[in-house]
Symmetry: C2
Subunit: 609 residues, 2 copies
């Protein structure tokens, strides 16, 4: 078995036992890796109706076959579990160096089950894997935990851990690795906390054995050359200004979510644009394992009240904590980002939840007494304070810790939560980027920009151009894009790099390059149809989990603001998201029935039954 390492670690936290299992070749091929192995395991082993924070739930960390290889951006792993935020399955992924180190330790997947009686962390050193006490780490920030574990283990150890937010069950707590890389969404950190699992630390020394190393190197060489050529000697915009460079595009298209999605443009957008970040706070760019782009930002803020160093903010953070909260103070946004990283929280859900609170307060639905004072859009200090309070679940923070949907519902106005499946939107207003609305609504993990992000096409024209306001052509796009993103996720690659190589000259969306890499790495001999089918299999498996968890087509939804309140400003002014129309043809294209349930024929075709 090449490419894959062939080993699964099963960690029974209740009994404190770790054991090796073999990865089955057939499953590895049918589910590719990462996101695929994760859902295959969860669907087989976890009751979709279980309480996500109970010992019944399992947490899977899975690499793809390209993780840790020389494939450009082969840096990523996937965390999968039943989410306490959405009640559905989630897959939350991250890059950095931890995943590649896990690969070098010979591990394709870790399955955590049960619950430890006391805080523990899993330590993997080469062939050894053991649970160690984390009593001394409980309550510590992610940075402190990372440092402490690295001190007490061998040099080169990489750490993924939760912060106080995960320990305390914040419903959007993240799992941070390599200090500032986040498997951010859907509360995967809360599941880890509920299991009394503080961290996973790993040091490996294996080589990843490839099926055809020479062919693989050649493919990589070509990809890198094409990438370099496309830069024409310059730098990649994501390297220059980080992902926050996207602000210009979303602002230009009028889909830059502002004041809890009440507007699509933000007057002070330039204040929080990536270029401002570069000018004001950038120390240096930073790349994940084997990434030729390097979009990460090491930053430092000196402004009084917001001092700190760390990484970020990303575009999504700039939207959620910036424009969406009406906050133009980039120092405050960056500081709130630092807090999220250190406490272990998702910046998107955090920012969007505060934005929701701000609208509830401005509309008089949220009493000042509950917050402890007035709360208005644009309040940079409140942004930082509420972020801290959420991590500690102190006072009003305890409500914020449940996310915007439960907050808005608590105050009788669930329609003011900008969510799909109770997960907060990414930074693209679906009214001005129709495909994003469909992608949010149908993502099995709730609103996400990572499970089929049509904004690339609709706003950036990458790798092809479609009108962001058209909806007739989006069902097919979103379906194809979702399946292909699934392949990227399962392979262990980063979307940023892969997304440019996904369209054939005839405008078909096809992962040709990924297939070549996978075949050279694993010898699995995928055909292109077969590979796309594997992506579709994974996507439908997640859908199955979602449906058996009790969600339905009613949850393939957007808040009424998106479908009923036209955007009041900017180039997309007057537009609403045509979700119902798109959904109908989307279900058909998916081979799902009118209730959004995969037909038996489709399930059989995919080998899921």
């Amino acid at each position: 078995m090449n490419g894959w390492m062939g080993k699964i670690l099963r960690v029974d936290l209740t009994r404190g036992e770790v054991r090796d299992e073999a990865l089955e070749a057939r499953i590895a091929k049918d589910y590719i890796g990462g996101r695929g192995l994760g859902i295959e395991t969860l669907l087989r082993e976890v009751d979709p109706k279980c309480d996500p924070l109970s010992p019944e739930n399992k947490l899977v960390m899975a690499n793809g076959p390209l993780t840790g290889t020389k494939a450009p951006t082969g840096a990523r792993y996937m965390v999968m579990t039943k989410s306490p935020l959405t009640g559905s399955v989630t897959c939350s992924n991250s890059g950095g160096y931890f995943p590649a180190e896990l690969k070098k330790a010979g591990v394709d997947m870790i399955v955590f089950e049960g619950r430890a009686s006391e805080p523990v962390y899993l330590y993997i050193e080469g062939e050894r894997a053991e649970l160690r006490s984390a009593a001394h780490l409980w309550g510590r920030t992610t940075h402190e935990t990372d440092a402490a574990i690295r001190r007490e283990t061998v040099r080169g150890t990489r750490v993924a851990c939760i912060g106080p937010a995960g320990e305390r069950g914040v419903l959007f707590a993240s799992i941070m690795n390599d200090r500032d890389r986040a498997a951010g969404r859907s509360g995967v950190g809360a599941v880890m906390g509920a299991k009394n699992l503080k961290a996973v630390a790993v040091r490996g020394d294996k080589e990843v054995v490839l099926h055809d190393a020479r062919a693989f190197a050649e493919i990589v060489r070509k990809i890198i050359k094409r990438f370099r050529d496309s830069l024409k000697g310059g730098k990649h915009p994501l390297n220059l200004h980080g992902t926050a460079v996207t602000v210009m595009a979303t602002q230009n298209f009028g889909v830059f979510p502002t004041r809890n999605f009440q507007q699509g443009t933000f007057d002070a957008w330039e204040e929080i644009h990536g270029e401002s970040l570069t000018r004001k706070f950038l120390v240096r760019p930073k790349a994940c394992f084997n990434c030729p782009i390097g979009c990460g930002r090491v930053t430092k803020v000196d402004e009084p009240g917001f001092q700190g160093t760390g990484e970020g903010p990303e575009y999504e953070t700039v939207y959620a904590m910036g424009s969406n909260c009406g906050v133009s103070n980039l120092a405050a946004v960056t500081k709130a980002n630092y807090i999220c990283n250190e406490m272990g929280m998702d910046t998107i859900s955090m920012g969007a939840t505060i934005a929701c609170a701000m609208e509830l307060a401005e509309r008089g639905f949220l009493p000042e007494a509950d917050v402890g004072g007035p709360l208005r859009f644009g309040d940079a200090r409140a942004l930082v304070e509420l972020t801290l309070k959420t991590a500690s679940r102190e006072g009003f923070g305890d409500l914020l810790a449940r996310g915007s949907y439960r907050l808005a519902e608590h105050y009788g106005h669930p329609e003011l939560a900008m969510v799909s499946k109770k997960q907060e939107f990414a930074g693209y207003d679906p009214r001005g980027a129709q495909g994003m609305g469909l992608a949010y609504a149908t993502s099995p993990v709730g609103a996400s920009h990572m499970r089929g992000d049509s904004a690339y096409i609709e706003l950036l024209g990458v790798p092809m151009v479609l009108d962001p306001l058209s909806w007739e052509d989006k069902s097919e796009l979103v379906k194809d894009w979702q399946d292909v993103f699934t392949v990227i996720d399962a392979a262990g690659l980063c979307v940023f790099f892969s997304v440019r190589n996904l369209v054939t000259p005839t405008r078909d969306i096809r992962p040709q390059g990924i297939m070549e890499l996978l075949n050279a790495a694993t010898g699995a001999d995928y055909g292109l149809d077969e590979l796309v089918r594997a992506g579709e299999r994974i996507f439908n498996a997640e859908r199955l989990f979602m449906i058996h968890a009790g969600l339905s087509c009613k949850d393939d939804s957007l808040p009424p603001r998106m479908t009923g309140e036209p955007l009041p400003d900017g180039p997309a002014r007057g537009s609403v998201c045509r979700l119902p129309e798109m959904l109908r043809s989307y279900y058909q294209l998916r081979g799902w029935d009118e209730n959004g349930i995969p037909t038996w024929t489709k399930l059989r075709e995919l080998g899921l039954v």
Copy 2:
């Protein structure tokens, strides 16, 4: 492979090809046989959303491992397909001699697929199986067809065929075998007709090889002895007066459906009671293959206008065409029964549909002009005429041929159709036999007395006694009973004989005796839990097909009369069926979610995913 014969015949009607396939041992054990093999095949091979009358649908005839053995009542086979009446899967079974002959030909199951371009019949003689032209048989009655085929084939050939009703797509057309035994329900005959398949004729000469013939003979000897002892030298009531002897029980409990379920007692019940049948028309009782009871009735009617000879009526016919139509003329009921047998139609749906038409007419919803004259309850002549018209789909008969639901809906009053899942009730009013209401509503094939008939317990006290009006204890009963009936069906046995041997001294419903027979016959070494689990597997597989066909918990329903109009007369007066209450706990006991969908955990537990 013992007990099972190991052979599946696959008949591709489109191509005119017949080929042998091997029965897989694992599937045979997990699905027992008959009803189990049928649903396993359909779930794997048929799109649950297909048009039931299109070539896409398949029709399965399947024996159980005990069919054709010396096991008492081991006479039965199962016809399975997607039903044109209910839109869900159906299993319709029958005894007689055809199934045992099929077994002797070495065939466990026939799978018919596609559609013949011209009428054909399948002829099996020993190892040979071929499609023959049925051009000369098209349009002929079942009796004529049986005789014609027996003339042109070897002596001892047994025939299952459709009549003109099946050819013309009557939605409740039956498949008749051995002249007067019916796989009656859900329109299996219409599917056969749509495939241009007129008949299946079979002659075999194989022995059924048993795993442990000596042990098997000993078990049979004990069962027969126990049965004989229970008769104390007398005759079995079903042998004395046929199944219509049940009239006394249903009348006594006030659940004898009268005038389209407007009442629960019928003044003239004695006129149509089994004893009257014996006195008036019985020629002789008749038994199926290897049945020690012999409930069949060979009868002869001399009354002017209703002359004829044939078999029947059964209790269900007496209810549907007698009390339910307000008809006390047993000669007319028997004549209408003869017509149904010869034309190939289900007597229950036929009678209940006419009863529904009568109520529609009496209430003024059905114009006289449509029927061609007045239509009133009690009109014996109309009963016979409308039955004939239905078979030919002539005039008003074309509407009747669609069953009571579509008829009542056509006239704007679907609530007057006494159906579950569009299939007509059997002869037990659910308001006075609560378990029957739950059984009707949750039967995967629509209302049926054969898929878990709690009336045995509620009305006859066999094999134990429960208050028919209580509902708190019925969910568990119905669930257990459904699973056990599934085992009976899958084994190839008749419910009449098996039902007495299904309760342990501790009142658990457990098929101990069937397990012993199956193990001696097949060597499958079932444990009791394992066997009941197999029944549950089959039942849930049918549920899966039903759900993927587009039905839902909304279809686990009874007409409002049952849940909202108290019975006006008899011992159960004032009672309604407490379906919603029972349904809730039933779903829980089943391991289904609140929408009646099998949970993922349950499906996994049963090996269905």
